[in-house]
Point group: C2
Chain length 309, copies 2
């Protein structure tokens, strides 16, 4: 089966442990998928990414001659296609000119974007909404914004950095240096601190214990959900999008996470007719478990016409 | 002097005590100005607005045959041109179809917008920025957003309602029913409660006392400025605009307000290299005292081509 005429995007999600590559059709359908362990460091990242694209080219029925979109953690200079502060990938001090290196290696244009922003485009494709917030609850907490169909990066790339909005002067010290940031309550690292668990991820262990009726677990879950709800509220009262998609590692919890956050939002609105009228709980959805939202969004980065569907 | 060919906008700022009408040139210059006491209630508002436009028509050298833009407090349905919950104007229970009534009376199209949003357009014209936040510190606290040249109202008209973002679980009860909202610290009503003063507005009395070295006044001013700074931080970390314009009644304080808020922003960033790197203090400006920012913006509502300058 050949389909040389089809518009397809190639998207990479470069993570600390693995690099996922996808071929995505203009209908959002995933047509090919490759997953490789990420080699750390500047050279390792480029080598891994190039290998993933080579494997996609070898296995895909589509002619992959178009641009490649890349989502990567850290600070991304989109104009330059360069990455910094991707600490878990072994890239920190100097800018890594990822676009240039990868483009030279692959012979096609490359577009590089922060992974949360890439995932936000994927969430837009998934939800069919062109005005939404993607709330990434991973090790940290950050949001991506698509407003009226356009990715909002902000003047200094800080749009959506609501993990560092302080909401409690008596809260915990945040890694950013402030106190009581949303990230100190509503993140995977906050969960790991509040509910230490051996093998299993903290989120799964906590929610299982709460479901089993453990009072302390219920209390910790309630506090976490209230933190996520507070983040949704900040976004609701600043940009007021109709669609809020929960994603990131913690969102692998799926519906139980959605239910807990929706309940927390309703609880916060109990005494506030104003807040209740906004029905923030009714705006929530969650990325389906294992849906590769960042790689799908990365594929669209290289194919902006796919965003205009 | 006649100038029939000039593009001019007519803008009204309908407030609880007065209605201000302006003729504004496409260069932002104020060409005529009329001010009348606002008669309360639905009929009174329409009668006052019509009288102001009649007076502008009588005094202006320009042919005022184009649309009239109106900024008014309360909940505004922009599609319908209707107003509700403008409690201080005596309009509460039912929608007031202001656009229809005023348009019938004046014989020209009318555009109605919330006064903070109108002022945001005026602030955009004043600052020359097309991506900015206008932070209105009046009796309450609310922001208006112009993002990439477009006024952002939000899915339910709640964009910029950051006065009701809670930032302190131990804070005061807010009129909205939540606890510790930004508005309970960073608003004219919060100032009036914290620094009761007879004749003079609380803000002027407080800042004068602080300038005179009164320790308690300095403490109250610091707390207020920290609240405004927290609002700026929420906006910086959500939409990350380069320009933040302080306005509203309390901003009549001018430079001393700007200085206090900038100092508070720098203090909040002392322990956070991340926050310091955003230089939120450097993004601030304040509307010049007595500049009619809402009426100027209202004039542009009726003349959208003026926004594209």
């Amino acid at each position: 089966m050949t389909s040389e005429g089809a518009i397809v995007g190639v998207g990479l999600d470069i993570g600390a442990t693995k690099t996922l590559g996808l071929v995505v059709g203009s209908d959002g359908e995933i047509r090919a998928e490759v997953r490789e362990p990420t080699e750390p460091g500047a050279e390792g990242i480029v080598r891994t990414a190039a290998r993933v694209v080579d494997l996609l080219r070898a296995t895909s029925d589509d002619a992959l001659v178009g641009p490649v979109g890349v989502g990567i953690p850290g600070l991304v200079d989109v104009e330059q296609g360069a990455v910094k502060h991707a600490v878990n990938l072994g890239v920190d001090g100097e800018w890594l000119p990822l676009r240039r290196l990868l483009s030279e290696r692959l012979g096609v244009p490359v577009v590089v974007e922060n992974d949360v922003n890439a995932a936000t485009l994927g969430a837009a494709a998934l939800s069919g909404a062109n005005d939404l917030v993607y709330l990434s609850i991973g090790t940290g907490l950050a949001a991506g914004l698509v407003l009226e169909g356009r990715l909002r990066r902000g003047a200094q790339g800080a749009a959506g950095e609501i993990g560092h909005v302080p909401v409690d002067p008596a809260g915990a010290l945040c890694t950013c240096g402030q106190r009581g940031c949303l990230e100190t309550v509503a993140s995977g690292s906050a969960l790991a601190a509040a509910w230490p668990s051996a093998g299993e991820p903290a989120a799964q262990a906590l929610f299982a214990a709460a479901r089993a009726g453990d009072d302390h677990a219920i209390e910790v879950r309630t506090r976490f959900a209230a933190g996520v709800a507070a983040a949704v509220r900040v976004l609701g009262l600043s940009v007021d999008v109709q669609t809020v998609v929960l994603g990131g590692g913690v969102a692998q919890l799926g519906e139980p996470l959605l239910d807990a956050v929706a309940e927390a939002l309703r609880a916060q609105a109990v005494d506030s007719p104003f807040l209740a009228s906004l029905d923030l709980a009714g705006r929530l959805s969650v990325v389906p478990a294992d849906y590769p939202v960042a790689a799908v969004g990365a594929a669209m980065l290289g194919r902006p016409e796919m965003l205009d569907r």
